[in-house]
């Protein structure tokens, strides 16, 4: 857990630098009131100080419990699901939402969550129909279609 917290502190320090230096060129003060850069610089200072404080607390802790990363089957599920979520985005853009929804749910239930394929396919069909009914039919939202016309 200590390493995870140190990593989080490091990321926050980098973000603080990005916010602080990323606004260079904008005015800090303008006549009688703060300029565009005032609040970002204040935020960057707060981020930096708090990140250092988090790092110090992590190093000062005497007992270190292990980080709650998933292991075994749980890790396998996450390893499949996170790329699948990203893959959904690509599929939706190029193949259309109905195919992307069906494909994602089928993959997630059968491959990632190891359910029987008839159950997975049925879940995918039901989910695709529900999404279509809720968003397209009820809300009138035109979800992008794929090369097959749906």
């Amino acid at each position: 857990m200590r390493n995870l917290e140190l990593a989080a502190a490091a990321v926050m320090l980098v973000l603080a630098a990005v916010v602080g230096f990323g606004t260079a060129g904008l005015p800090l003060w303008s006549d009688f009131s703060p300029g565009d850069r005032f609040v970002p610089v204040a935020i960057a200072v707060a981020l930096g100080l708090l990140a250092i404080s988090l790092g110090r607390e992590a190093l000062a802790r005497s007992d270190d419990e292990p980080a709650p990363w998933p292991a075994g089957e749980a890790a396998r599920r996450i390893a499949f699901l996170v790329p699948a979520v990203a893959g959904f985005g690509f599929a939706a853009a190029y193949l259309g939402f109905p195919i992307a929804v069906f494909g994602f749910v089928a993959f997630a239930t059968v491959v990632a969550l190891r359910q029987r394929w008839p159950v997975g396919l049925a879940t995918a069909v039901v989910t695709t129909v529900l999404i279509y009914v809720i968003f397209v039919v009820s809300l009138g939202i035109r979800l992008p279609k794929g090369p097959f016309g749906f």
Binding site: V18, L26, F32, D36, V39, A44, A46, I78, F88, A92
Partner: protein, 495 residues
């Protein structure tokens, strides 16, 4: 008297077919979301935000608020029947409620939770009406300096009053402000922190951030350990309490309701703190404190009453001051902003029908929930038999489609995905997400108020001490900032 007239107008809106449908759908979805271990009311509200775009503001707010307090009812069912808290505020119900269920008293546990929640919800709604009017009257005297300090207080209070590390909570608050700074400067209109990327010119919208942090992240975490436990069977005829059990529980319900509302008023405290505090207090008053942890019905009554009344308490500062005190009220505030309405002191005078129809809908919603949770609890319990592994992919895809539908842009969906991964990592690192979301919502108010205040004072920071309300708020901010560190030093010294 004027408030009664306005309340009557509120009921007139809430009791229309559209109003009743919105309330019913909200509490039903809230009940289901609360019962699902992987999803909280804030996530449910965030996922349904895109759906509310086509609704009128009254219906949208009534439905979203229904999810918020309905979720508190729903969390009890899984806590009692499966020993898995559907909500973090139902942890104490899981501790004692499940022990009662093992002894064949699941029905009594569910019944006392439902009745306590109903009582707390109704009493809390009455208190909300008075509190919102009172706070709003005070807040009409506020100007830019007070609003800046209120926004700061809202963010700092989540660190001070929430559970967990205050450093982490403040850090996440600062991160939320940093995310809120991306886009266009609110006063000059200059691009800021966009790095030449046109997608960032509009900044990070609240919706995909909330969907990612609460929807996607929570589902991913919940899928790591999927529980295959069967819920303990409950029949309608079991849904009763003996006269002894009722005598034991009624004061617990009263105390829990009062504690929950007061705790809910404080930004950042939340339903979990309210439920835990009520449980601890009830143990002191109980004639059988040794039963706490082993199946104390009054423990369940107190914690469930508190978590419900805390939700109504949290609505008071949101409606009257525009300061959300929890992730759920932050989503509700974002929904109002998306509808073109800015909560704040003038909300009750500018949009009285909206506010009072919301309050009226909460009375109706609690009645509906009582019906759902007493005679219909066995029916909801049977829904738990649907394997969560089949629901979770559907929830994930619904959240992604919802994110796209909000702006008809793949960029929004990508942001939701990215924050889903960020939220997952935050949960692993024990970094609280609520302060980030609160800060993101409050960032525009905080910056605009600060710059306006300093413009009014020609650059002098003395404006924050010369005005009495501002000084009082400043002192409160300092106290809340110092409190967790002082308490930690005090406890270290005693240890």
């Amino acid at each position: 008297m004027e408030s009664f007239d306005l309340l009557a107008q509120g009921f007139a809106v809430a009791l229309t077919p559209k109003g009743l449908f919105s309330v019913f759908m909200g509490v039903l979805i809230g009940q289901i979301v609360g019962a699902l271990p992987g999803l909280g009311p804030a996530a449910g509200m965030a996922l349904l935000l895109p759906v509310t775009f086509g609704m009128d503001p009254n219906s949208a707010v009534m439905m979203l608020a229904g999810i918020l307090y309905g979720g508190m009812y729903g969390g009890t069912i899984t806590s009692v029947l499966i020993n898995v808290p559907g909500e973090s505020s139902s942890v104490m119900s899981a501790v004692d409620g499940h022990q009662l269920a093992r002894r064949g008293r699941a029905g009594a546990a569910l019944a006392v939770a439902a009745i306590g929640s109903f009582f707390a919800g109704v009493v809390g709604t009455v208190a909300l009406a008075f509190a919102a009017v009172g706070l709003s009257a005070i807040a009409l005297k506020f100007n830019a300096p007070e609003f800046f300090l209120l926004a700061v207080l809202g963010i700092i209070a989540t660190a001070s009053l929430g559970s967990g590390s205050p450093t982490k909570a403040l850090l996440m608050g600062a991160l939320g402000l940093a995310i809120g700074a991306v886009g266009t400067d609110p006063i000059s209109g200059n691009a800021r922190l966009t790095f030449g990327n046109s997608y960032l010119v509009d900044g990070f919208d609240f919706l995909p951030v909330a969907i990612g942090l609460f929807g996607i992240a929570e589902v991913l975490v919940s899928l790591e350990n999927v529980h295959a436990e069967k819920p303990i069977a409950t029949k309608l005829r079991d849904m009763w309490m003996t006269s002894t059990e009722w005598a034991k529980s009624r004061m617990a319900i009263l105390r829990g309701s009062a504690i929950g509302f007061v705790v809910g008023l404080m930004p950042g405290a939340g339903a979990t703190v309210a439920a835990f505090l009520a449980y601890v207090v009830e143990r002191r008053f109980s004639k059988n404190p040794e039963m706490f942890g082993k199946g104390a019905l009054d423990g369940v009554a107190a914690s469930e009453s508190a978590n419900n009344s805390s939700v109504t308490g949290a609505l008071a500062p949101m409606l009257a001051l525009g300061i959300p005190g929890s992730a759920g009220t932050a989503v509700l505030l974002a929904a109002l902003v998306l509808q073109g309405i800015r909560p704040g002191p003038t909300l009750m005078t500018d949009q009285p029908v909206l506010v009072w129809s919301l309050i009226a809908s909460m009375f109706i919603g609690n009645v509906v929930l009582l019906i759902m949770n007493v005679p219909l609890a066995p029916l909801f319990a049977s829904l738990l038999r649907v394997p969560y592994v089949l629901l979770a992919p559907a929830i994930l895809v619904f959240s992604l489609v919802g994110a796209y539908a909000a702006t008809m842009s793949f960029a929004t969906m990508v942001i939701a995905m990215a924050f889903g991964v960020v939220g997952y990592l935050m949960i692993k690192a024990d970094l609280p997400r609520a302060p980030l979301v609160l800060a993101l919502v409050l960032a525009p108010l905080l910056e605009e108020s600060l710059r306006q205040a300093l413009l009014l004072s020609l650059g002098s920071p003395m404006i924050f001490v010369e005005r009495p309300f501002a000084l009082a708020l400043l002192i409160t901010v300092v106290v809340f900032l110092a409190m967790p560190f002082m308490l930690r030093r005090f406890s270290n010294r005693n240890a």
